[in-house]
């Protein structure tokens, strides 16, 4: 029996070795792994179960017209996913969020780098960032509707202007908190300024910025749906607006569920693995 190792360690250990030995080990380890699994997944499953139970209780109390059951909602969501129109609606929102975040990262990141490396730039941009961060997202939605009308560009602008300052602040923080002694070390070995940045500083900056990017993504989704809802431009928000107009509560909740699931898929399928990859060394170095 191996000494203490984590869940992944045990699984990896069991994947090695001849088949017969592995089977015996699996049999021995099964109860321990089951206990690990319960400890690991039990609390979140319990929380989710309680949420669904409360939802079902609400459905029973108020009826399907006010609150469809979780099963009904999942069926409606599945129905959306079986049509090409549904995928177009979801794809439109996701594409906007991705494009707008790329713009935010480019602009907010660029100015964040400038401000991080220059005291003058930091002092100059600080009040602008504070003002932009202080403006509520709903105010931007209304303002961009007035300025640009209901258009794809208006939604992109809204998402970018809301998430940009956040990425700016994150970038400034990432630049300022990097370990400059490592750049000195590289300089002592003759690294140029560019090599110090690209080979030493950038790695640290990305690791610090990655969690902020995850938060910006979630915020971007919310702002996108809100903008689509107000401007009625194709996407999850517009689909929600249509469902409201038709009093189709099943479909409205289905789109909410799909939006949340989409966010979870992007977060856990893309952002978290990326964060783990770029920030793994932070956990090891403590």
């Amino acid at each position: 029996m191996p000494g203490y190792m984590g869940f992944e360690g045990r699984i990896n250990a069991l994947r090695r070795g001849p088949v017969r030995e592995r089977l015996v080990e699996w049999r021995e380890m099964a109860p321990i792994l089951a206990l690990d699994g319960v400890k690991r997944f039990g609390p979140p499953m319990l929380g989710l179960g309680l949420f669904l139970a409360t939802w079902q209780a609400g459905h029973v109390a108020y009826g399907a017209f006010i609150l469809p059951s979780p099963v009904q909602t999942l069926q409606a969501a599945f129905g959306v996913l079986t049509t090409s129109e549904g995928w177009i609606v979801l794809g439109a929102t996701v594409a906007r969020v991705v494009a707008a975040l790329a713009i935010s990262l480019l602009i907010g990141g660029f100015f964040g780098l400038l401000a991080g490396y220059s005291n003058f730039g930091r002092a100059m941009f600080a009040p602008v960032a504070t003002i932009l961060l202080g403006i509520p997202a709903t105010a931007w939605v209304i303002l961009t509707m007035i300025w640009f009308g209901p258009s794809h560009g208006a939604i992109l602008f809204t998402i970018s202007v809301v998430t940009g300052p956040m990425l700016y602040i994150g970038m400034v923080d990432a630049v300022l908190t990097r370990d400059r002694r490592l750049e000195e070390m590289a300089a002592a070995f003759g690294a140029s300024r560019w090599a110090q940045f690209s080979r030493v500083a950038l790695r640290q900056i990305i690791a610090t910025l990655a969690p902020v990017f995850g938060i910006a993504l979630a915020l971007g989704f919310k702002v996108a749906i809100m903008s689509e809802l107000v401007s009625n431009v194709a996407g999850i928000g517009a689909a929600l607006a249509r469902s409201r107009a038709h009093m189709d509560i099943d479909m409205a909740l289905a789109y909410v569920v799909l939006a949340v699931m989409g966010l979870l898929v992007i977060e856990h399928g893309l952002i978290r693995p990326m964060q783990r990859r770029v920030g793994a060394w932070k956990r090891v170095s403590g």
Binding site: L182, E184, A187, A188, F189, A280, W281
Partner: protein, 264 residues
Amino acid sequence: MSGMTLATISHVYAGRKVLDTVSLVIRPGEMVALVGPSGSGKSTLASIAAGIVKPTKGRILRQYRQHAMVFQQARLLPWANARENIAFPLMLNGLRKREALEKAESVAEKVALLPEDFDKMPGELSGGMRARVAIARALGVAPDFLIFDEPFAALDPALRRRLQDLVLSLGQDRAFGGMFITHDLAEAARLADHIAVLDRQGKGVLGTLTPPGQRGHRSDVDIFDFVQQSLYGDPLLSDLVHVDERAMPLDLVGDAGLGPRRCC
């Protein structure tokens, strides 16, 4: 040729004069220890010598092919394993990753790093191992001028002694000269050919002391006598150089039965 001349170096940092017209000549193949109290500008002078910091005033004549530096805290890249850290300067110098990693392994063996440690991340290495990786990283670029900035200050005396032995064995054929910054005068006397003493306000090198015998072959008694005579026989030095008992190897202080402050 692997020497360096620092001529009338002055440096101002954050409105404070850290170094004031410091001059120091390090002859080819010579290892000069730089000692002085905290805040005397030793590390700044090392950074200037390494080209990390540009002095406010003064001239530097570099007479070496390649320099390298070993820092107090190993300053290993936390996202790279031991082998990759050693290979880092080689890649900076344009070597391809594969070749750099292969060369890193051969250098790692010179500093007694075990193959099983090659893949360990800095967080998984002990203090002594990290120091060895830092030394290997510096040796990887085959320097003929090495700057050590208190590389063993944070290590326990026994480990410090072993790493001093390592530095002595690596420099046995005089493949490199350089500068060794330390608070520990016994370490300075043991590893260096000469000791330059920097005064409290970085106002200059007060003088260069030459310990008796050859580096690495001085006995602990010689070292202690030297430190005692140099510092406490000269009222000027004893006034300006602060010797902390804790910075002295315990056995030396204990054997002599006196601490620096009770001396002379």
